[in-house]
Symmetry: C2
Amino acid sequence: MAPRKQQEIFDATLRLVAEKGYAGLTVEGVAERSGVNKTTIYRWWPSKAALLGAALVEADLLGFTAPDTGSLRGDLVALVEGVVRLLSEPPAADVAVAALGAAVEHPELDARRFFADRFAREREIFERAVRRGELKESVDPMLVVDLLAGAVWIRSVFRGVPLPDGFARDAVAAVLDGVG
Amino acid sequence: MAPRKQQEIFDATLRLVAEKGYAGLTVEGVAERSGVNKTTIYRWWPSKAALLGAALVEADLLGFTAPDTGSLRGDLVALVEGVVRLLSEPPAADVAVAALGAAVEHPELDARRFFADRFAREREIFERAVRRGELKESVDPMLVVDLLAGAVWIRSVFRGVPLPDGFARDAVAAVLDGVG
């Protein structure tokens, strides 16, 4: 399938889940909105769960590139700012929160690929920091990203409050410098 | 309503949402399982969202008492261990993850009360730590609990991987001592 057509399908998928929830997402609806034949979509993705799982990882709308600012602190602040945009600023937030929320209720919609794919790209931030001597090799990068991304999720999705100014900087300072 | 009857209603509510998802939760189903008349339930909680929101905060099954071990580190490790049990060990995890996941897709089911209620009780951990001289008063307690609870959520719910031994201790060490 042409990459542009594929992006139109992912885009339709994400917008439908944002508008109607996972229950309202159907391959028929995606076909209608993207103008691609339903049987063609089914040939590539055997279910709506598979389609939404692929959209989470491959849609340009949720595209992710690991920041490279020259310092670990700068990279992590940029990383957290990206998660803040993803989870609290439309249009990305409308689709990301709806799709990730659906993944909690519907395990067949496998969100693990989304997180594994992002983490594979986040790793380089930590590898560069170790090479620059900013970070001990024994530090677990997954723990660091889960602390930071998790704080954004809890604060903006569950508590439903706007993030205070400087949230990214403060969260990164807590994890890099410690609060104790 | 007698507190015991109320707990039976909350219990039925949480078990139904764990078994059938939010879409499958109905006040009728709760009435049937708890043996309480439907109109009585509606008199107390006007909708299934209100009922599940109340169950999240008031059900004994999800009961929460802030740990008091004598040190900030001990309290936070115990706090994280409690979140791990809540989000990854049945029976609490079955109901907590289903109910919180539903809250993402259905904002009318207000999860903010659940988080506000827990935070009101978590605060004392930090107040005691400040009095003992273990923590500067300028540290934001909500940032600390959101980092820690968020890491458990991402790791066990979204990544769907078992938490490694010592996860609570390592997560608390990262936030108290810093990784940088």
